[in-house]
Amino acid sequence: MIAAAASHAVRRPWVARVGVVVLLLCFWEIAARWWVDPMFLSPPSRVIASLPAVFETRGVPAALRVTFWELAVAFALSVAIGLAIGLAVGLQPFVRKSFMPIILLLYGTPQVTILPLFILYFGIGPASKIAFGVSHGFFPIVMTVVAGVQNIKPILLTSARAMGANRWQILRHVVFPHMIPSFFAGMRLAMTGVLLGVLLAELYVSTAGIGHFTTLFTQNFDPTRLLGLIAVLAAMAILLNETVRRAELHFSRWHSE
């Protein structure tokens, strides 16, 4: 009876998925307790128990706040700049054909190579993190805005113009509604990019953000608090990604109907 119920439960994918995660955590726990030097890795139970201690470490709450602000500002700037450039480039076919190859070329280059330049120009404070985050975040927005504008059926524009719509009315009532699904897909990619850019810059050099503490914990051989901090940051990243993904689902619904 119990065995039958158990086998029935295992047949559900999410039960098995939780099982896999638990198994991995058990393996990690055992490895960290008996095989690996505690200087380098600590078991998950101890990491979870130390989460309050991470938050009590002087400066960590402030550092998390700083990093969160950097992410938020970088994302907002990415969206604004990306939207402006995307519309400027996408609305005129000639401009699009001229400048899209240059934008694609820039998008394809690995921006990490110029990370030291960002530090040099914007200092080691939050400004360089925001700038580097924006440099990763605004390209996907430009791409999707240009693609979204390009996919508008010309007949819609023509008929709007024939009915006497001015430039702003066309933007407001034809271009924007059509752009929304791809624009939100771009926002999701931009959030991934902003997270990568800001965290890369934080890890490279940091005075007030979390990068300062990851370096500190690494150099002090304190894997418990390092893992705690990484877990908190990962949770923050998942939260931000999920927020944008939900927004995408919500706002692109009308289009599929």
């Binding site: 047949r11 994918p13 098995a16 998925r17 896999v20 995660v21 380098f40 890795l41 000639f94 054909k97 001229s98 400048f99 190859p101 240059i102 394809g108 280059t109 690995p110 990490v112 190579t113 110029i114 990370l115 030291p116 330049l117 530090i119 040099l120 120009y121 991934t192 997270l195 990568l196 965290l199 890369l200 890890l203 490279y204 990851t214 370096t215 914990f217 690494t218 051989f221 894997p223 390092l226 893992l227 990484i230 940051l233 990962a234 990243a237 998942i238 990604n241």
Partner: protein, 256 residues
């Protein structure tokens, strides 16, 4: 004027705009450093950068760093590709396993894996091992996810038809599953390669002892701006060559 003539004229015009834009950028850069007295500590003279770039190429001083970076890249991508393909294939063989593992992998993939870098530095040290580990972790997921997507969603009718015509396991794999899945898998491999390259140069920038990323940081900390710009140009060129190579291979494999 024929429509094709119009089109080629328009293409010529946009090429002209592109070239003008790039030349204007270079001229602005040159004028900024010579006329408008922008400090060479912020922006070196492009002529000096070009000279340094040439001397890097001719003296071959890049070879040591390039070898380190390429070794890390090849090992990371090799491990990620082989394990990603294997794991992806094994998972894709049953709908149940796909339902269990695909959301799990997609969930992990959405976390910025660069966060693990401090942990890897702690575990594997400052040498190549931590970069390889990070590169493997980052590029494993796109490869595995695309392998699952490629093999997992082959049309049932194709498999059933091949089976009913008496195809063996090997024949089924060779003539039905592989051709159907290959385009998606190659896309995954290309994505994996790009992020592996990015993460390896990034982790060399953040904490390392050798490699191209390390060289750029070393020059930046010494405020040697002209050679640093030259190295940035060099690394961007290397990355462009590698990415083009991989996309060409991927699209050639896709066409077959």
């Amino acid at each position: 004027m024929t429509p094709t003539g119009d089109r080629s004229e328009a293409r010529f015009a946009s090429r002209a705009v592109q070239v003008t834009f790039l030349i204007a950028l270079l001229v602005l850069w040159y004028l900024a450093t010579t006329r408008w007295r922008v400090s060479p500590l912020l922006l070196p003279n492009p002529v000096v950068v070009l000279r340094d770039f040439w001397s890097i190429l001719t003296t071959g001083e890049f070879i040591g760093d390039l070898r380190v970076t390429l070794t890390e890249l090849v090992s990371a991508f090799g491990i990620a590709a082989s394990s990603g393909l294997l794991v992806g294939y094994l998972i894709s063989r049953s709908q149940y396993r796909i339902q269990v593992f695909e959301p799990l992998f997609a969930g992990i993939y959405s976390v910025p894996i660069i966060l693990f870098l401090p942990l890897y530095v702690l575990l594997f040290g400052l040498g190549p091992a931590s970069k390889i580990a990070l590169g493997v972790t980052i590029s494993f997921f796109p490869i595995a996810l695309n392998t699952i997507a490629g093999f997992g969603y082959v049309e049932r009718t194709l498999v059933t038809a091949a089976r009913s015509m008496g195809a063996s396991d090997l024949q089924l794999f060779r003539y039905v599953l592989l051709p159907a899945a290959l385009p998606i898998i190659l896309t995954g491999m290309r994505m994996g390669f790009t992020v592996a390259l990015l993460s390896i140069i990034g982790s060399e920038t953040i904490a390392s002892l050798a490699g191209l990323g390390h060289r750029i940081v070393y020059l930046a900390e010494g405020m040697e701006m002209a050679p640093m710009f030259a190295y940035i140009v060099f690394v961007v060129a290397i990355a462009a060559i590698l990415n083009t190579l991989v996309s060409t291979l991927a699209s050639r494999g896709r066409r077959r």
